[in-house]
């Protein structure tokens, strides 16, 4: 080969190689940047709304449908159920009508389902979860954020207890009767049910939608983070600040709810009176300061976390495992108890 030909070949080779190398570098850099920044840029839409007396945050992403439209639909569904199950506001509330009826009332299938579910949880938790404490809740002023809170007299509490308790609720098919002027307040379960229904709606619109609903700390997962990672959920330290965490769990599906004595409460003479009542005493439950439950559905986690808070760490709470739920309870001294399966959620 002549010397000039050899130079030409070398030149061409250098040009081709340079193009190949530069292309390779650009492709790899582009892939690297995409891998890094796509983690935070997936189109999650966030919508906040006050529903069920708390701030509900919907965080949702969908590749098939407009995530904003999904979030709007979810909020509307929760508002529908808030209005339907509000115990103290008239309007379209089925529960308000029931509470003010003088005889049996025939309710729709959805209401019958939720009342039956409430009574089921009342029975298996020996009344620790009780949907018929409306009179007591109103007496203490926890029926609305605007109502003045006060410590009632023991006579007033005894009288309210006569008209309280799930034993006063009877349901036969869709016919519901309330005895002894009892009032239903499904606050400990209706929010969980409403969030579950909103998540069901999101999945109906797009089965691959991902995200979560955070209803005042009660959380239901729509789907894994970016479609593949578990959501990292902090459990608030009941005696710390709002950003202080006492534990972490990872959920790609399912729900988690916490009941605590540190949010809705008032103090008189240095004593804290919170909003979760012991149906046996008529006073705020004192056996624990925080109870967290993980379950497949928020309706279950919601009811069981209330029950676990009232019961404190006990055989009944340990038995939640048989219902497919896991629990963590912090007692009044700050000691932490967990069901065996709870720790499985603490690993990513």
């Amino acid at each position: 080969m002549r010397k000039a030909d050899r130079k030409d070949v070398l030149k061409k080779r250098i040009v081709i190689q340079s193009i190949v190398f530069l292309t390779a570098i650009l492709i790899f850099l582009a892939v690297a940047l995409w891998m890094n920044f796509s983690r935070g840029s997936t189109a999650y839409v966030e919508k906040d709304e006050f529903v069920f007396g708390t701030l509900v945050r919907v965080v949702v992403s969908s590749e098939k449908r407009d995530p904003k439209a999904i979030a709007d639909a979810m909020i509307q569904e929760m508002k529908r159920l808030e209005s339907k199950f509000h115990p103290y506001h008239d309007g379209n509330s089925v529960i308000f009508k029931l509470n003010h009826a003088t005889g049996p009332v025939t309710v729709d299938e959805e209401t019958a389902f939720l009342i039956s579910k409430s009574l089921y949880y009342s029975e298996i938790t020996a009344g620790a979860f009780d949907p018929a404490l409306g009179r007591l809740i109103k007496l203490w002023g926890f029926d609305s954020p605007d109502t003045k809170k006060r410590v009632p007299t023991s006579e007033e509490i005894a009288k309210a207890l006569e008209s309280s308790g799930y034993a006063n609720v009877e349901i036969h098919s869709k016919e519901v009767s309330l005895k002894n002027h009892a009032w239903l307040d499904l606050g400990g379960i209706a929010k969980g049910y409403a969030v579950d229904q909103a998540v069901r709606l999101a999945k109906k619109i797009d089965e691959n939608a991902t995200g979560f609903v955070d209803a005042g700390g009660d959380i239901a997962i729509i789907g894994p983070k970016f479609g593949q990672f578990p959501w990292k959920i902090g459990i608030r330290d009941p005696r710390g600040g709002p950003q202080d965490i006492i534990g972490v769990v990872y959920l790609s599906e399912g729900a988690i709810a916490t009941s605590g004595d540190y949010e809705r409460y008032f103090e008189v003479d240095g004593v804290r009176y919170h909003h979760i009542f012991d149906s046996k005493t008529g006073y705020p439950a004192r056996k624990s300061i925080s109870a967290t439950v993980i379950a497949e559905k928020l309706v279950d986690a919601d009811a069981l976390s209330t029950a676990a808070f009232v019961l404190g760490w006990s055989k009944i709470v340990e038995g939640f495992v048989g219902l497919g739920a896991q629990a963590m309870v912090i007692d009044a001294e700050g000691k932490i108890y967990k069901t065996k399966g709870f720790v499985a959620y603490e690993k990513e």
């Binding site: 850099l29 701030l55 954020p145 700390g217 009660d218 608030r236 809705r264 967290t292």
Partner: protein, 130 residues
Amino acid sequence: MKRNDLQFFSRLDLFFIVTPIFIAFFIAAIPQASGKNGVVTVYISGELVYEQPLTRTATWVVKSDGEYLSTLVVDGSKEKVKLVDSNCPLKICERTGWVGIGGSIVCVPNKIVVKVEGKTKASEIDIVTW
């Protein structure tokens, strides 16, 4: 022509291919920046009514239709915010205390949401159950 001159891939070529792969994996592995750049936003009934950088110390009176609702304090040096006073009955928002990036203060009766937004590390908590 020497044999090496006509070989398409030499050791140096391999170096140029392998190096970008390593750089790519390195970049992919970098956690997202935890840059502060915090912003305080205040919403009343879902409507944005106030916004300021987290680094600027300020006191802002939250009003709606001329009615006093609460007082917000931003401590720029600590990059935290607090509702120091509120006309709501339970004062849950006041008791929330100081919150930093990623936190929020909610006043349900007044429908106020104070958010402290800013970039957080990918490894941080996504949601808090309480």
